[in-house]
C-alpha cells in the first residue's frame, strides 16, 4: 500500500465516520429537505417580482438564484470545517486524530470532506426538485461538467475553510466565518448579477473563487450566459484552488506548530 493510498484511505474513513454520525440522526435529512422546499418555493414567488430581462436575455431569475443558493450551500459547508474541528476539540476527539499517522493537517482536511461532498450531492437533489417541481430549465447533458466545476469550486472553498481552522488552532477562535460567507455570497453574485455593482466594488468580485464558480455553474446547469468567457472563469477557479489549497495546508501546519509550542493545540 502506497503512502498516498494510506492518506486517501484515512481521509475517506473520516468521511465515512461523519456520514455514519450524520445518518444516526434520522430526522436531520428530512428537516433539510423541508427547509430546501420552502426556500425553493419562496424564491419561486420572489422570482415573479423580478423584471423579465433583469439577469439576461431569457430573464430566468429563478434558475439564476437557485444556482446561487446551492453554490452558497457548498460554500457554507466548506466554511463550517472550523466549527467541526472546534467540536472535535471540545469532545476530545481531535487529540486522537492528531496523534495518528494522518496527523493534524490531514485530520483537519479530512473533516471537510463529508460536509462538502454532502452539500454537493444535496445541491444536486435541490436542483432536481427545482426542475421537477418548479420547471427550471436544467441542462442534464452538461451534468458531468457541472460536477467538475462544483468539485473545483468545493476545493477552493474548502481551502478558505482550512484558513479558518488554522485561525482556530492558533487563536482559539473560529470567528469570522459568518461575515466572510455573507461577503462572498454578496460579492460573488449569489442573488443578483455582479454587473449591478459600481466599479469601485466590482473588483472585489474578481479576487475570490465564488464568482467564477457560481458563474460557471449557472452557465453549465441552466444555460445562463456567463459574465466572463468560460475559459477565463475556469482558469480563475483552477488557479484559486491550486494556490489556496497548498497555502492553506502550509498555514495550518504553521498554526499547529505554534500551538504545540504554546501548549494549546488541544485546548478550546
Amino acid at each position: 500500500m502506497t503512502v498516498c493510498t494510506q492518506y486517501v484511505g484515512a481521509v475517506l474513513a473520516t468521511a465515512k465516520r461523519d456520514a455514519m454520525i450524520f445518518a444516526s440522526y434520522r430526522l436531520r435529512f428530512i428537516s433539510q429537505v423541508l427547509a430546501m422546499l420552502f426556500t425553493l418555493t419562496m424564491f419561486n414567488y420572489i422570482a415573479k417580482l423580478v423584471r423579465p430581462n433583469a439577469v439576461g436575455p431569457h430573464g430566468h431569475y429563478y434558475a439564476f438564484v437557485v444556482v446561487g443558493i446551492l453554490s452558497t450551500a457548498i460554500l457554507t459547508a466548506a466554511l463550517s470545517t472550523s466549527n467541526l474541528v472546534r467540536l472535535e476539540l471540545m469532545q476530545g476527539n481531535f487529540e486522537r486524530v492528531v496523534i495518528s499517522p494522518l496527523g493534524p493537517v490531514g485530520g483537519a482536511i479530512s473533516v471537510a470532506v463529508f460536509p462538502v461532498a454532502y452539500s454537493v450531492l444535496f445541491s444536486g437533489l435541490m436542483l432536481g426538485l427545482a426542475a421537477g417541481v418548479f420547471g427550471i430549465p436544467l441542462h442534464l447533458v452538461d451534468a458531468p461538467a457541472a460536477i467538475a466545476v462544483a468539485t473545483l469550486g468545493a476545493l477552493a472553498f474548502a481551502s478558505i475553510g482550512l484558513l479558518f481552522v488554522a485561525g482556530l488552532l492558533a487563536y482559539k477562535s473560529a470567528a469570522g466565518t459568518t461575515w466572510v460567507l455573507a461577503a462572498l455570497a454578496l460579492l460573488g453574485g449569489a442573488y443578483f448579477p455582479v454587473r449591478l455593482f459600481p466599479g469601485s466594488i466590482r473588483w472585489a468580485s474578481n479576487v475570490q473563487p465564488f464568482t467564477p464558480a457560481v458563474d460557471l455553474l449557472r452557465h453549465v446547469l441552466v444555460g445562463a450566459p456567463s459574465a466572463e468567457p468560460v475559459w477565463l472563469d475556469l482558469t480563475k477557479l483552477a488557479g484559486f484552488a491550486a494556490v489556496l489549497m497548498p497555502a492553506s495546508a502550509a498555514l495550518l501546519w504553521l498554526a499547529v506548530n505554534v500551538s504545540r509550542r504554546r501548549g494549546t493545540l488541544m485546548e478550546y
Binding site: 500500500m1 494522518l102 504545540r260
Partner: protein, 248 residues
C-alpha cells in the same frame, strides 16, 4: 538560525538550570529517549518550569512507571512524547525518529491513551470506532479486519461490537479506548492513568496487552498518581518531583 530555533532559544530557561536527575539507560537497545526536556507553562512572572531537564532512556522490552503528585508533570511529559506538545528545549526520539523526521512513521510506532474518558463518538458503534482508528493508523487493508477483531476480543468487546459508545458503561468505554490505543500494535505504549474505571477483569486485559507489547520488544510508559497500586511489575519506577525524574 531558523525561526523555530530562535523561538526555542528565546524560551530557554533564564535561570541557571539545576543539574537534572540522570536516569541511566539499561543495557538493552534504547527505544524511547527523552533528552534534556524542559517545558514551561505560563508567561512572564507567572511562568514556571514543570519539567526541568528530563533525561530518560527506555530500552526495548521494558515497562516504566512514572508517578508523581497531581500536577507534577506526568501528563505533560507524555504529551511531549506524543508530539501534541512541543518542549521548550530538548528532544524526544522513538525508534530513532522525532516528530520532525516523519510525523507518520513516528505516530505509527506509538499508542497513546490519554487520561479521562474522552475521545469517543457517542453515536458510533464499538466496531466502527476500532475500524475507524485502524484506518487512521494506516493498517493495511488485508490486515485491518483481523486487527480490529483481535482488539475487540482482547478487551472483551466482541459482544458489544454493535453497541453505540453512548450506551457503554465507564469501564467499557475505557476498554474501548484501550482497544483504540492498541489496534495498530504500537511499539511504544504511552498510558496516562490507564486504570480509570477498569474492574479486575479489565485490569487483567490491560496487563495482558502490556505484556504483549513487551514480548514484541516494545516499551511501555505508564503514568499514574503517586500511591496508586499498579497491576503489573515494572522494570523501573520513577517519580517526577520538582520537575525532575528521581528513582522510586
Amino acid at each position: 538560525m531558523t525561526g523555530q530555533a530562535a523561538e526555542i532559544l528565546s524560551a530557554a530557561p533564564s535561570e541557571e538550570p539545576a543539574p537534572s536527575a540522570q536516569i541511566a539507560p539499561l543495557d538493552e537497545q534504547t527505544l524511547v529517549s527523552f533528552t534534556d526536556i524542559w517545558r514551561y507553562w505560563g508567561r512572564g512572572k507567572n511562568r514556571w518550569a514543570v519539567l526541568r531537564g528530563i533525561d530518560l532512556q527506555i530500552p526495548c522490552g521494558t515497562a516504566t512507571c512514572i508517578g508523581g503528585r497531581n500536577g507534577a508533570g506526568k501528563t505533560t511529559l507524555l504529551r511531549i512524547a506524543t508530539g501534541i506538545l512541543a518542549p521548550n528545549s530538548g528532544t524526544v526520539t522513538i525508534d530513532g525518529l522525532t516528530t520532525g523526521d516523519s510525523w507518520r512513521e513516528y505516530h505509527r510506532r506509538i499508542g497513546f491513551l490519554s487520561a479521562g474518558d474522552r475521545g469517543l463518538y457517542n453515536r458510533m458503534s464499538v466496531r466502527a470506532h476500532v475500524d475507524f482508528w485502524a484506518r487512521l493508523a494506516f493498517i493495511a487493508r488485508s490486515e485491518r479486519r483481523p486487527a480490529v477483531e483481535e482488539a475487540l476480543a482482547r478487551f472483551g468487546l466482541s459482544e458489544l461490537a454493535k453497541r453505540r459508545a453512548e450506551r457503554l458503561s465507564q469501564g467499557q468505554r475505557q476498554r474501548l479506548r484501550l482497544a483504540l490505543t492498541l489496534v495498530h500494535r504500537p511499539k511504544v505504549l504511552l498510558l496516562d492513568e490507564p486504570r480509570t474505571s477498569l474492574d479486575g477483569e479489565g485490569l487483567e486485559m490491560l496487563r495482558c496487552a502490556v505484556s504483549d507489547v513487551l514480548a514484541r520488544g516494545g516499551a511501555v510508559i505508564w503514568c499514574s498518581p503517586a500511591g496508586e497500586e499498579q497491576p503489573i511489575d515494572f522494570d523501573r519506577t520513577l517519580f517526577i518531583e520538582d520537575g525532575r525524574l528521581v528513582p522510586a
